[in-house]
């Protein structure tokens, strides 16, 4: 079992290692993530496996006996995401043993998030763990690691004030919309996709007076349900391009593999309303909106990185709290490491 602890690993690529352009190339769907996890788990020498797949993070946690496990996992990830090995190597990290514990704890707490202190990541980690456990891909070590990481995240949050002053993407979007339009009563919002971030952003805009919200997503039922929650209307995804000129704010969060809104489409819409600004929020990965559209006159395009950078502008104020949280997590990681080692020794005797 001591060997097992020696081969606890995590391979990952996050916003720290990869810029948006690379992350969107590496992005995989939930189905591919599940397939990757299953295939890795079935490999000889891999005893446990779990994949965390969010818009800013693709991480493979595992436990393996094989000596060349890093190469195997990297190759598998390249096969599933379709990126070259060189690209992955240039934009990824590999941790083992105690570092894995510390990393998992920091991720769960939101310290490793693009918007430091955010709480959504905890839910995403829990989902990834639940899926892996249901698929019987986790065992003693990963179960213990993830359950402890959730406890440690809660503990660090309650003992420090890392979430104080936390600015959500929704809040940033509302502030930006105010700088563009002033009051938002007359602004018309189009939601492309029914993602969680887009919904929260739309809720924030609604709370600041936006009355006209339209939802378009691949599944009309989803659009309809979200439109109902937001008090808006639903349209077919195929119809949105013809109606683009009607909207002032577009929030896009689809899982479409290709760009949904081309520069020409925006240029055509802005031509029909040249004196009204266009605020485009692209929280999708891969991106839905052509980034070159930002250079168009009267168009303001913000993607995940832009919004997160703004949200983290007050980070200086929370630096001491973040350091304190990190210290607390180090204690938890060390205790967990000792617990796992103790179990190993007891199992050996």
């Amino acid at each position: 079992m001591s060997e097992v602890l020696q081969s606890l690993f995590v391979l990952g690529s996050t916003h720290h290692e990869a810029p948006l352009e690379v992350r969107e190339r590496m992005a995989i769907t939930p189905a591919i993530a599940a397939a990757l996890r299953q295939e890795l788990n079935e490999l000889e020498g891999v005893r446990e496996c779990l994949v965390v797949n969010t818009c800013n993070r693709l991480e493979v946690y595992g436990l393996a006996n094989s000596k060349n496990i890093e190469t195997i996992v990297r190759d598998q990830l390249c096969t599933h995401s379709g990126v070259s090995r060189a690209l992955l190597d240039a934009h990824s990290f590999w941790h083992t043993n105690l570092d894995v514990l510390q990393h998992a704890l920091e991720v769960s707490t939101g310290l490793d998030s693009q918007m430091i202190g955010e709480t959504d990541i905890l839910g995403q980690m829990k989902n990834a763990y639940a899926d892996a456990r249901a698929a019987q891909c986790t065992g003693v070590v990963l179960n213990r690691l993830f359950e402890k990481s959730f406890q440690a995240a809660k503990s660090a949050r309650t003992q420090t004030r890392i979430t104080r002053g936390q600015v959500s993407i929704g809040n940033v979007a509302v502030d930006l919309a105010s700088r563009i339009f002033g009051h938002l009563r007359d602004s018309r919002v189009l939601l492309l996709g029914s993602g969680d971030v887009a919904e929260k952003t739309a809720q924030s805009l609604k709370s600041r007076g936006v009355a006209d919200i339209t939802v378009a997503s691949r599944t009309f039922e989803n659009s309809h349900a979200l439109a109902h929650r937001l008090g808006g209307a639903a349209i077919e995804l195929s119809d949105f391009s013809a109606q683009l000129k009607r909207f002032d704010i577009v929030i896009s969060s689809t899982t479409a593999p290709n760009m949904l809104i081309e520069r020409a489409m925006i240029a055509s819409a802005i031509k029909q309303r040249p004196d009204r600004p266009f605020f485009l929020i692209d929280v999708a990965l891969p991106r839905d909106i052509d980034p070159t559209a930002d250079s168009l006159e009267n168009v303001y395009l913000y993607n995940l990185d832009d919004l997160s950078a703004i949200a983290n502008e007050n980070l200086e104020l929370r630096k001491a709290e973040i350091e304190q949280a990190r210290t607390i997590l180090k204690g938890h990681a060390w205790n967990l490491w000792l617990q796992l080692r103790r179990r190993t020794i007891m199992a050996e005797h």
């Binding site: 940033v172 502030d175 930006l176 105010s178 700088r179 563009i180 339009f181 002033g182 040249p274 004196d275 009204r276 600004p277 930002d294 006159e297 009267n298 303001y300 913000y302 832009d306 950078a309 703004i310 502008e313």
Partner: protein
């Protein structure tokens, strides 16, 4: 009663200018210190400056027994006075944040330059308007329209700063305090229309004099005046047709105002060298 006041018109205007510069300095310091923008204090300091400047213009008017628009110094002071007056009308009504700061900046700058160049305050014969009230109205309206164009230029500058902040994804600092790009764009459009209407009215009054006495209006002054008016008219028409919007509109408004201001000096010089020109000067774009 005005004659009994112990200080001169220039001194009163200098005190007014100090208030404008003080308001600018105070506003900038508050923003740099990331303190809440002191709208009420800015308003009060600008009001103090405006009062002093009004007093100064009144004193000068009493000295020359007419509207004080006889040299570049007086014209500059009148433009600044119109600009600040417009701020008092527009600022509270439309709650355009930071407009007070920008007004204080432009007012302080223009007024300081006028005070620091003594040659601009050269003497001129009394009664240059020839006792014609229509010409005085023409001159006052024309200068007032310059005040409007000054505030259009300010609003346009604020628009460009806010737009640049949004395009460059900058969030903190002055950007947070500025009004939205849409508000600024709409305000610039409305003010431009108002300015063009006022300048057109001024030219209409002047045209009555020009038709009756064409020999007394120098061609150079008339041409520059018409050029400024035609420039603003063209920008307004293009704006209404939505062919010149947002950034281009803002740049055009600033460029035209700089041109209008820069044209004051040669026009005024032409008047001083023109032996025929006394009352007629006033058709110039003041």
């Amino acid at each position: 009663m005005l004659q009994e006041i112990a200080f001169s018109a220039r001194e009163a205007m200098a005190v007014g200018t100090s208030f404008y510069l003080g308001a600018l300095f105070f506003g900038v310091v508050m923003i740099l210190l990331r303190k809440p923008y002191p709208r009420a204090i800015m308003f009060a300091v600008l009001a103090a400056g405006f009062t002093c400047q009004t007093l100064g213009l009144n004193l000068r008017g009493a000295e020359i027994k007419g509207c004080p628009l006889g040299n570049i110094f007086e014209i500059s002071q009148f433009i600044v006075w119109s600009l600040v007056l417009l701020y008092f009308i527009i600022g509270p009504a439309f709650r355009l944040r930071l407009l007070g700061l920008f007004t204080a900046g432009l007012a302080g700058l223009l007024s300081s330059i006028a005070l620091l160049i003594p040659a601009w305050d050269g003497s001129y014969p009394a009664g240059i308007f020839g006792g014609n009230p229509w010409i005085e109205l023409h001159a006052a309206l024309a200068i007032f329209s310059y005040g409007i164009f000054a505030i259009v230029a300010l609003v346009s500058a604020m628009f460009l700063i806010q737009q640049r902040g949004l395009k460059k994804k900058q969030f903190k600092g002055v950007y947070q305090h500025l009004p939205s790009v849409q508000q600024l764009d709409i305000m610039a459009k409305r003010l431009l229309i108002t300015g063009v209407l006022v300048l057109s009215a001024a030219l209409l009054f002047g045209a009555v004099f020009w038709i009756n006495h064409p020999e007394r209006v120098p061609v150079f002054k008339l041409s520059v005046t018409c050029l400024v008016w035609a420039g603003y008219l063209a920008v307004m028409v293009l704006r209404l047709q939505q062919r010149l919007v947002t950034r281009h509109h803002a740049l055009a408004s600033i460029a035209l105002f700089i041109f209008a201001l820069a044209s004051l000096w040669p026009v005024q010089s032409a008047r001083e060298t023109d032996p025929l020109d006394e009352p007629a000067a006033l058709l110039a774009p003041e």
